[in-house]
């Protein structure tokens, strides 16, 4: 951390100052305000809001569906990234660009689009209906919306890692007698695992925070298809700022815990990867 290190940007003092200022103004201060708002509540009120049956139901849905969505995206994101990295086919560039569509679209638009397709009379929904599968206005719809919205994160996280898996490694394993599945399990998977975890984290974080696309397809039945961000909005609309802050705090803590756990997992994986451990 030499202050004289040659660099394009001027001085460590200035850049570090700007970094802390930016982080404080955009991230830390608002979060602190929220914690303070929730902290000004009476303890029993806080418990009442946070542990109400409706709130508990919404946590379950929000985190459960997000977890599911992130898991789905890790699997399919890997397959999509694999296709894009390993195969040369007409339209590859186009598909590669389309991956980012959910980024660019206002989330409400995605929500409306999904609802149109998966509602009981929708293009796909009408065929699922006779099979007894209801997507719109159920937890399935919520998961679907979250999956769509967080998919690019998984793909973009895995893609560079896959690019780095040298073909030579697979060739080497093949000449040594390993079958495809063995190569995948013992060579490819361990190499891209850190990237997969990152993809999972990013997908999960995005899904937990998602609001716009979900409210259209969720139906928002309390206890059943109501996500926590929506519950927060409902509290706000009733001018219950403290209640909203309390729920926000719970989300903050839970999200932080999940991210922290995944980071620990990654750090452990990296240490194993680089510094070596007896196996």
């Amino acid at each position: 951390m030499s202050l004289r290190a040659p660099s394009v940007l001027p001085g460590f003092g200035l850049t570090f100052g700007f970094t802390t200022f930016f982080l404080s103004a955009m991230v830390l201060l608002p979060l602190a305000a929220m914690v303070l708002a929730a902290g000004s509540m009476h303890w029993s009120d806080f418990v009442h809001v946070v542990f109400s049956a409706r709130a508990l139901g919404s946590y379950k849905l929000s985190f459960g569906a997000s977890f599911l969505a992130a898991s789905i995206n890790v699997v399919f994101g890997f397959i999509i990234a694999w296709t894009l990295v390993r195969y040369e086919f007409p339209g590859r560039k186009l598909i590669d660009a389309l991956i980012d569509m959910p980024f660019a679209l206002p989330t409400a638009v995605s929500g409306i689009a999904l609802t149109t397709v998966f509602a009981q009379s929708g293009w796909i929904g009408r065929y699922l209906e006779p099979l007894g599968i209801k997507v719109a206005y159920t937890w399935l719809g919520v998961t679907l919306a979250l999956t769509l919205i967080s998919m690019p994160f998984a793909v973009r996280a895995v893609q560079p890692a896959l690019l780095e898996v040298q073909r030579d490694l697979e060739d080497a394993a093949e000449t040594l007698g390993a079958g495809r599945f063995y190569v995948f399990r013992r060579i490819i998977l361990p190499t891209v695992l850190p990237a997969l975890l990152t993809g999972f984290t990013l997908s999960f974080a995005r899904a937990v925070g998602e609001y716009g696309s979900v409210i259209f397809i969720a139906g928002n039945l309390p206890m059943k298809t109501e996500i926590t961000p929506l519950l927060i909005v409902i509290h706000l609309e009733q001018f219950d700022y403290q209640g909203a802050a309390a729920l926000g705090l719970v989300m903050l803590v839970m999200s932080f815990t999940v991210l922290f756990a995944i980071n620990l997992l990654q750090a452990w994986g990296r240490r194993r990867h680089l510094l070596g451990a007896n196996s």
């Binding site: 030579d168 490694l169 060739d171 040594l176 390993a178 510094l275 070596g276």
Partner: protein, 586 residues
Amino acid sequence: MSITLDQVTKHYGGVPVVNDVSLDIGDGEFFVLLGPSGSGKSTLLRAIAGLTGVDHGRIALHGRDVTHVGARKRGVGLVFQNYALFRHMTVADNIEFALRVRHVRGKVRRQRRQELLRLVALEGMDQRLPAQLSGGQQQRVAVARALAHKPEVLLLDEPFGALDAKIREELRRTIREVQRELGITTVLVTHDQDEAFAMADRIGIMNLGRLLEVGAPHDLYSRPATRFVATFLGAANLLLARRTTDGIQVAGTTIAAGDRTPAVYEHEVVAVVRPEEVEIAPARAALASNYLAGGVVDEVVFTGALEKLRVRLDEAAQTPLLAHSGADGESVELLQVTRTQHEQRGFSVAPGQSVAVGVRRVHVLPTPLSSFTACAATPQLAQELSREPLLMELAARMKTRIGTRCEPKLGVADAEGEASADFVGTTVIASQTDCAHRAEWLLRRGARDLLVLPAGAAAPQRVLIHWMGEAARSATLAVSASVLRHVPAEAVYVGIFPGQGNGGRDAPGIRELLDARSEAQAAHGLEMRTELRFGEVAEELARRLAEAPAQMLIVGVTDLARFAERFRNLLDGGQWPVLIVHRDAP
């Protein structure tokens, strides 16, 4: 035989990357595939390993045909340039990988691992990760890993490419020792001739997808058969010379040829003079060897053990030195000379100094194509012809020159009279109307190899070969082999029988076809496919040429009777290059 390749061919996007390669590698042999990048050597190695399929041909390992067997089941060990170690596994796990796949018991695995680590001198490194090892150590691990399952064949793909000189040397020795100890058949791919010389029992040299020459390092160096091998394997000066009954005549001096085959006729040849076979002295009288010419020292580079000189030969001597590519890719006509410390002490030189140049030993390449002469009725036309892209490309690839020659009577119908001078090398004329007459005119006056070149002809992707009359067979094959060494095209022998369709039972015809193929293979190292057609020769050839673009024809003739009449369709205004090889019947 450990490895047998039979006409192995691999195309990428229509371009043959490996072109009709046939090769036998013996048990326990250390074989080096040497060639510049893009010559197809790595693709060939991958084909042997089973990682790349072949389009044509067969591959056998220890007599077992493995052409359609996957890499998994071939039982070969492969070592890559970039090591390709599994970075998330320890050295032990890397080495045991092949054994784990085969469900070998732990105790046996450990024992084998210890054995291999001792072999590559890495004892005690079991629990390291690849990232904790130096490049040389990593490559040792890769070698040990490739040997774990006791493969029948060890393949090394530029294994030293990423290492620095000292470690390279050390690892070379280790690999050679391991190879000798295990007696395992080994193929190493490299572009480094020092490496090839240091390690090989035999070297195979590849260029443009073809295996040009195979031989022991010393034989290839002292008696190369092709220009490419002569210049790729060590430095070489190429000179145009004349083979006479007395020996090799270069710039007015006659040097006894190493091989004393009496020349049947005087003709131009390409001679190789190695830089260390050149002698320089203050004056002609002081030379111990045959005097070549006077010259001026252009450059002196001291490289430690040797001194490298470039000498510009006097223009007055008209020395037929062929240009070679300099360090910056520019072609230069300077004689390369290397001298030992001992020679330097006897006579030290500086740039700008005049010296007498002598030659101790000359090797004549058996290639029949020496140089090109663009021939036309006027000097301007000849100049224009000499700048045809295909001709220039051919000459550049053959590292030879294009001369010009004016024959005023060439265009005149039924012109009598003699040619203006003897024909030297390959004569080139432009393809146009009444071209068949011109060709006949030249052939009757002594042109032996005649290239008829249409304007703007494309580089051929397929060369069709045919000869009329047995006297021209050997020469046609030799010329074809020489052309195909310099052009990445496939060779097809077109056999043509008179009559329609009963040729399937025409046993002598088929035998002739097969004989031609085996002669091409044995005597000229030329692999070619064969095709059968029925009808009148010139017509069938013209029809065959019209079937696909980018083709070239090499046709041997003995009898010139009615030549122009028979070949009118083929030559007059044709869109394809035709090389006519004329040899009189004895």
